[in-house]
């Protein structure tokens, strides 16, 4: 059985780690490099750094802090935020990222996924999807980094993730917005539905509140990894506790 990944996400705004609830309102949670190394030491399997304001502000992320983090980090690093051209994605790799995650720009122009996969390889291409339940279905959202710019798209989530897989995505991070920041647990129903239509790895995002939630999402939705941000920032739970709980539930984790 493949090892389940515990992924720590840092939402960055203005060079500081921030965390909000349901995409609205943000609180300061520290320095990106300090937190990255703390998570590495606590056993994180991967770090995602997400510049949450970049896409809404029509810019890309800051390469200076990317390099500063990548230079010190010896576990995988994925970056996200405002990456809308192949050149920008390549610049992220050139500054030390291992993977780039794209979200709103892929919805604006889906061919971007194909172009990026052709140049960098599917293994570098992560597609982030912000999704919310609506009328008995799940729909994708765009520009979710800021309450003033967020908007629903006409795309059904399950259709969109299959399309991104066909276009060359190597992994999907499905952020279930109804749960984001709530600490009520992952949206297992939605994630299980997504898992059934994908052959590439799926990462759960949104809703983690305690260590048991991680074990539940692996058991209930068979995702490859689970991502969390706020509960790690504010030390509500240690990554090592999460791993112990997931191992206790019978899944292999890197301890």
């Amino acid at each position: 059985m493949p090892t389940k990944r515990i992924i720590a996400c840092l939402d960055v705004k203005g060079g500081r780690v921030v965390k909000g609830v349901r995409f609205e309102g943000h609180a300061d949670a520290g320095d990106p490099l300090d937190l990255t190394l703390r998570y590495r030491d606590e056993g994180a399997d991967e770090i995602v750094i997400y510049d949450i304001a970049a896409s809404a502000e029509r810019r890309t992320l800051d390469y200076a802090w990317l390099s500063a983090v990548a230079r010190k980090l010896d576990i995988p690093l994925c970056v996200a935020g405002g990456i809308r051209t192949v050149e920008q994605a390549v610049a992220c790799l050139d500054h030390g990222a291992d993977k780039v995650s794209i979200n709103s720009p892929a919805l604006e122009r889906p061919d971007f996924i194909n172009e990026l996969a052709d140049v960098a390889g599917t293994q570098c291409v992560v597609v982030g999807v912000d999704s919310r339940a609506e009328g008995g279905d799940w729909m994708t959202y765009q520009y979710s980094g800021d309450a003033s710019t967020i908007r629903r798209t006409p795309r059904r989530t399950l259709d969109w993730i299959v399309e991104t897989q066909q276009r060359g995505a190597g992994e999907i991070v499905l952020n279930c917005m109804d749960r984001d920041g709530t600490r009520d647990g992952y949206d297992i129903e939605q994630l299980a539905a997504a898992r059934r239509v994908l052959t590439i790895p799926l990462i759960a995002s949104g809703g983690a509140g305690n260590a048991v939630h991680f074990a539940q999402v692996f058991a209930g939705a068979d995702v490859s990894g689970a991502l969390a941000a706020s509960i790690f920032h504010f030390r509500r739970v240690q990554i090592s506790e999460v791993k112990a709980e997931v191992a206790k539930a019978g899944f292999e984790v890197r301890l």
Binding site: A70, L73, D74, D94, D98, K99, A120, P201
Partner: protein, 198 residues
């Protein structure tokens, strides 16, 4: 004591350079054939697809050099796959330093492809590259093609199927995983490579 890291195109070569920097190893990132030929050792990182990578190596005049380089050469990820004779990926003829054909990793419900994550290294036998690395240490993998097991296999990994995770034949070495992103175990394997006699 210079290590040349082959700049092939787009990829996480910056991660490899940072890892060498953390080890205090002098290294240059280059696609210059003369510079690479004169290096004490070569690291060939993985970039994109096999056929495209071979095309780039041909364009840069590096195929002959990498095929005959007499000192230690380490292929990482796709770089390991290129050490084999050929690849199912784009039907590429590759460097041929290790016998065998690279094949596609089948996606299964239990093991989605690409294989992206931490998997244990299971040593086949003792080898200088594994000195100081615990048996069963985890390494970080990202790949959708796999190298067969055979005489060159130093360690295997299992994800859907068994494949070569660490290989050695003569002075050609390969890691299917990313040692630059595999924590202390990866750093030790890189450092062991850098300590191999030239």
């Amino acid at each position: 004591m210079t290590t040349a890291v082959v700049k092939l195109g787009v990829g996480n070569t910056a991660s490899v350079m940072f890892a060498l920097e953390r080890l205090g190893a002098p290294a240059i990132l280059t696609d210059d054939a003369i510079c690479i030929a004169e290096a004490d050792r070569i690291i060939l990182p993985g970039v994109g697809a096999a056929a495209h990578a071979m095309h780039l190596l041909q364009t840069k005049g590096l195929v002959e050099l990498l095929t005959t380089f007499p000192r230690p050469l380490l292929g990482i990820c796709l770089g390991q796959q290129l050490l084999y004779e050929d690849s199912e990926e784009g039907d590429a003829i590759t460097l041929g330093r290790i016998p065998g054909r690279v094949t596609r990793l089948a996606a299964t419900p239990e093991a989605p492809s690409p294989h992206m994550g931490w998997t244990r290294l299971k040593p086949d036998h003792d080898h200088p590259l594994l000195e100081g690395v615990a048996s069963g240490a985890y390494a970080y993998f990202v790949h959708s093609y796999v190298c067969p097991t055979g005489e060159a296999t130093v360690a295997i990994a299992e994800y859907g199927e068994r494949f070569s995770a660490l290989v050695a034949r003569g002075n050609a070495f390969g890691c299917q995983f990313h040692p630059e992103r595999s924590g202390p175990a990866g750093a030790r394997i890189l450092s062991n490579f850098l300590s191999l006699p030239c």
